[in-house]
């Protein structure tokens, strides 16, 4: 019996897309998948006036939620915070009746300017990416979502010069496909520091092309 395909929602937040070298391409790649609804939040809400009903409906309609953004001061760009503040309402996302998100899968796909060494306890950022995103992880926990490790591209400012972008996009595509077909080992993916690693196990050939 064919497995039912999961529906994926990509919430993309990039306030200066004319400068984007990676995130915009990831967004474009996600638009090509049939199972993915890709939303450009800054395009839809240029005045930050978020339509709460519409956003909640979108969450209800999808099984996998992805935040796609460049890391800004160890967190999401402003509109994603705005989106969380408004959309994840009491009675919808948390509280006794707030069960709308229960059982869904959630993770962050992000890019960091610093290299991977910088995001270590010994590095100048002192925390790993996964640690820096703890507030989001806990939000996922509170709302009953299954939180996966973040999918990260480090040293993103040099990635296109160093030819690392294509491989990263391929990996993202593979990730979306395995999420849609439920072929990703979710509990393994949740336990890792980075989702990139889980993917490497999952489809080594694809990821090694980077």
């Amino acid at each position: 019996m064919p497995e039912e395909r999961k529906k994926i929602l990509v919430l993309f937040a990039h306030p200066s897309q004319e400068r984007s070298e990676v995130n915009k391409l990831l967004f474009k790649a996600s638009q090509t998948h049939h199972d993915v609804t890709a939303i450009d939040l800054y395009r839809e809400y240029p005045t930050f006036h978020i339509n709460i009903d519409r956003e909640q409906q979108r969450l209800v309609d999808h099984d996998v939620i992805i935040f796609l953004f460049p890391l800004h001061w160890y967190s999401t760009p402003a509109i994603l915070k705005q989106w969380q503040d408004l959309v994840l309402e009491y009675g919808f996302a948390y509280g006794t009746d707030g069960t709308a998100l229960k059982g869904k899968t959630f993770f962050c796909a992000t890019t960091a300017g610093g290299n991977e060494k910088a995001y270590q306890h010994e590095g100048y950022n002192h925390f790993s990416i996964r640690e820096l995103l703890y507030p989001i992880e806990q939000t996922a926990n509170l709302t009953g979502m299954h939180y996966l490790a973040p999918f990260v591209l480090f040293s993103s400012r040099n990635a296109s010069e160093e030819g690392r972008v294509t491989g990263h996009i391929d990996a993202f595509n593979a990730l979306l496909t395995s999420l849609a077909t439920s072929t990703l080992d979710l509990s393994h993916a949740a336990s890792l520091p980075l989702l990139n690693r889980a993917l490497m196990q999952e489809t080594p050939e694809t990821y090694q092309t980077r």
């Binding site: 005045t47 006036h49 709460i52 309402e89 948390y94 509280g95 006794t96």
Partner: protein, 641 residues
């Protein structure tokens, strides 16, 4: 008088029958006119003797066309084209002249005659080519653009040619002419300022006349147009435009220069004028008709007698000239990397001799450079080559193009530089802001306004704007509505704005219309007429002031902004249903609907809507950043236990 009416009727009748027929058969209007001319002239013989006189009159069509070509050429654009102009155009004229001169020498012509013939045949027909390009929509192709640069260079090159040709005068022809000059003297003096002047004085007179056109065009035209435009009478503006063109043509004829060149120059001088588009739209219809007449007379003027007796040399020469020109052009296309079908379009479209050929031929005869009998035969060659040009275009369409279409990919996407002209109709307080905003973001705009003062004010602060009534289809046409992506309508006349929207949506459905509405009723009318985006002129400023008022009255600025956004959202929500109501209402009682009643009705509907949504609306405003209930943790713990 009766005879004139009959002649005019025959000419017009021939055009009315032949041109639409030719267009339907895909032959283009130029060939239509030419055929009409041949039919009423040499074949049926309805017209004949007066053709020559008429041709002089019809040459005025060429004069007007060059005026319009000049108007299109801002000096800056000329500068941008300089490489192609000088490279392509210069080489085309240089090489073609050299080859034809060599051929002339080979056939035993005197060098000066051979050289003059070379110069004459190096020119192509701006009239036919530009007309055909715009009919077949070839202007934007690579071949079309390059052909245009070459034509332009040729038109400019005529000036030095006119200066050069008198120096090539043949002594024996001058002698012959001087022996008859006695009889013609009085006649000549009446029509010319320069007859009998020595060479240097003649040169000075010519320079003075050109300077008069340039300086006058630059400094005197504006006050004149302002004076005329302030009267608000359209026909007087038309008269002024005609007066200007005819006046310059007359001046140039008086000093023995080509009127076409004079008006071309005047056109370039006026290209930066705010009256440019209005001038264009006024001259355009005259140009079209007179140019048609010109082609008819070319057809009618084909003398089958002379042709019959010289059939071999004329046909041979025509074929030879066209072959030489096409080969030279083809070689240049290779050098300048014009590719694929564009290469052939470039070579074939310019392979004929042009209307300047006639002008130069009569000029050379006047200046005793070429003997009359040779000139007669050569003008037959010019006419025939022009006659064959539409055939070349058909050859291109039917044979060349299909061959390339198979192997070629789809035409390349438009370059970004070509994209997006926005025409702004009306630059009062509203249109001006829109324009400033767009221009600051590097969007090309064409600005039109009906108030001379407004246009002058804008010019003072370096905003390019043009005088004219934007609701006139021909003005929009000259402002480039066909290629525009958007028309912003910000004119003060409400009904005209709606009519304009209807007209544009009907004629140019691809052009987006962004319109300013006076009020809600006008808003709906514009929407009904098909406008893509409408904003009521005071709507947003009123909302802004309301918000500021709330702040002044003690509401937190952020909250006030939220309230404003909510009101906007509500308006948006109800916009469509209100519009439907308005439409039904105006259909039921078509013209009797009193606007005030309707407006009250709409307002009631809105306040009703606000009321019925009141709880929701309240909730919406309160909804963002709502903290959880006070005892929520207790409740959560309970449910966990």
């Amino acid at each position: 008088m009766t005879a004139y009416f009959i002649q005019a009727f025959i000419y017009l009748c021939a055009a009315v029958i032949a041109v639409p027929l030719a267009k339907r058969l895909g032959l283009g209007s130029v060939l239509g006119y030419l055929i009409a001319g041949v039919v009423i002239g040499p074949i049926v013989g309805l017209v004949g003797s007066e053709t020559n006189t008429l041709q002089h009159f019809a040459e005025f069509g060429v004069v007007m066309m060059l005026f319009l070509v000049g108007l299109e050429l801002e000096p800056r654009m000329l500068w941008d084209m300089r490489n192609k102009l000088i490279g392509l155009g210069g080489l085309q004229i240089g090489i073609t002249t050299a080859v034809i001169t060599a051929a002339g020498l080979y056939f035993g012509l005197v060098w000066s005659v051979a050289f003059t013939v070379g110069l004459i045949f190096a020119l192509s027909s701006t009239a036919i080519v530009l007309q055909t390009f715009s009919e077949k929509d070839l202007n934007k192709t690579e071949g079309g653009k390059n052909a245009f640069s070459v034509l332009l260079f040729q038109d400019i090159a005529v000036i030095p040619m006119l200066a050069l040709i008198p120096l090539l005068a043949l002594p024996e022809l001058v002698e012959k002419a001087q022996s008859v000059v006695g009889q013609a003297a009085e006649h000549h003096e009446e029509l010319s300022l320069v007859a009998g002047l020595p060479g240097w004085a003649y040169g000075i007179t010519v320079l003075l006349a050109i300077a008069a056109v340039v300086v006058g065009g630059h400094y005197l035209s504006r006050p004149l147009f302002r004076y005329v435009a302030s009267s608000g009478l359209r026909e007087i503006f038309t008269a002024t435009a005609l007066m200007l063109v005819i006046g310059i043509a007359a001046l140039m004829s008086l000093v023995g220069l080509s009127p076409a060149l004079g008006t071309f120059l005047a056109g370039v001088v006026l290209a930066n004028s705010e009256f440019r588009h209005e001038l264009e739209s006024n001259i355009e219809p005259f140009k079209g008709l007179l140019l048609g007449l010109f082609f008819i007379t070319v057809g009618a003027g084909i003398d089958f007698g002379v042709l019959a007796s010289n059939i071999d040399p004329v046909l041979g020469l025509t074929a030879g000239v066209m072959l030489v020109k096409a080969l030279v052009l083809l070689a240049l296309a290779f050098i300048f990397k014009i590719r694929n079908s564009d290469r052939w379009l470039f070579a074939l479209s310019l392979a004929q001799a042009g209307e300047f050929g006639f002008v130069l031929l009569s000029y050379t005869v006047q200046n005793h450079v070429i003997p009359t009998d040779l000139a007669q035969m050569l003008s037959l060659v010019v006419a025939l080559s022009m006659f064959l040009t539409p055939g070349l275009f058909i050859f291109f369409d039917k044979v060349i193009l299909p061959r390339y279409e198979k192997s070629e990919n789809k035409p390349e996407a438009d370059e970004i530089t070509e994209r997006g002209t926005v025409i702004i109709a009306g630059v009062g307080r509203f249109g001006q802001m829109v324009n400033r905003f767009l221009v600051a973001n590097k969007i090309k705009t064409v600005v039109l306004d009906q108030s001379v003062d407004q246009v002058a004010n804008l010019r003072k602060i370096n905003v390019k704007s043009f005088y004219g009534d934007a609701t006139q289809p021909d003005l929009l046409h000259t402002a480039g509505i066909e290629d525009a992506t958007m028309l912003v309508i910000a004119i003060d006349n409400n009904e005209r704005a709606v009519e304009l929207t209807q007209y544009i949506k009907h004629t140019y459905p691809k052009v987006m219309i962004y319109a300013r509405a006076f009020d809600r009723g006008h808003h709906f009318e514009l929407k009904h007429a098909g406008a893509d985006f409408i904003v009521s002129e005071t709507y947003h400023s009123a909302l802004e002031l309301g918000k500021e008022a709330l702040i002044a009255l003690g509401v937190h600025p952020f909250k006030a902004e939220q309230k404003k956004a909510t009101l906007r959202e509500l308006e948006l929500c109800y916009k469509d249903s209100l519009y439907e109501m308005w439409k039904k209402n105006s259909e039921d009682s078509k013209y009797s609907t009193h606007f005030r009643e309707l407006f009250i009705e709409l307002e009631t509907a809105i306040s009703k809507a606000m009321k019925s949504e009141h709880l929701d609306e309240q909730a919406r405003v309160e909804r963002g950043w709502t903290p959880p209930p006070k005892d929520y943790e207790k409740r959560m713990n309970e449910s966990e236990e």
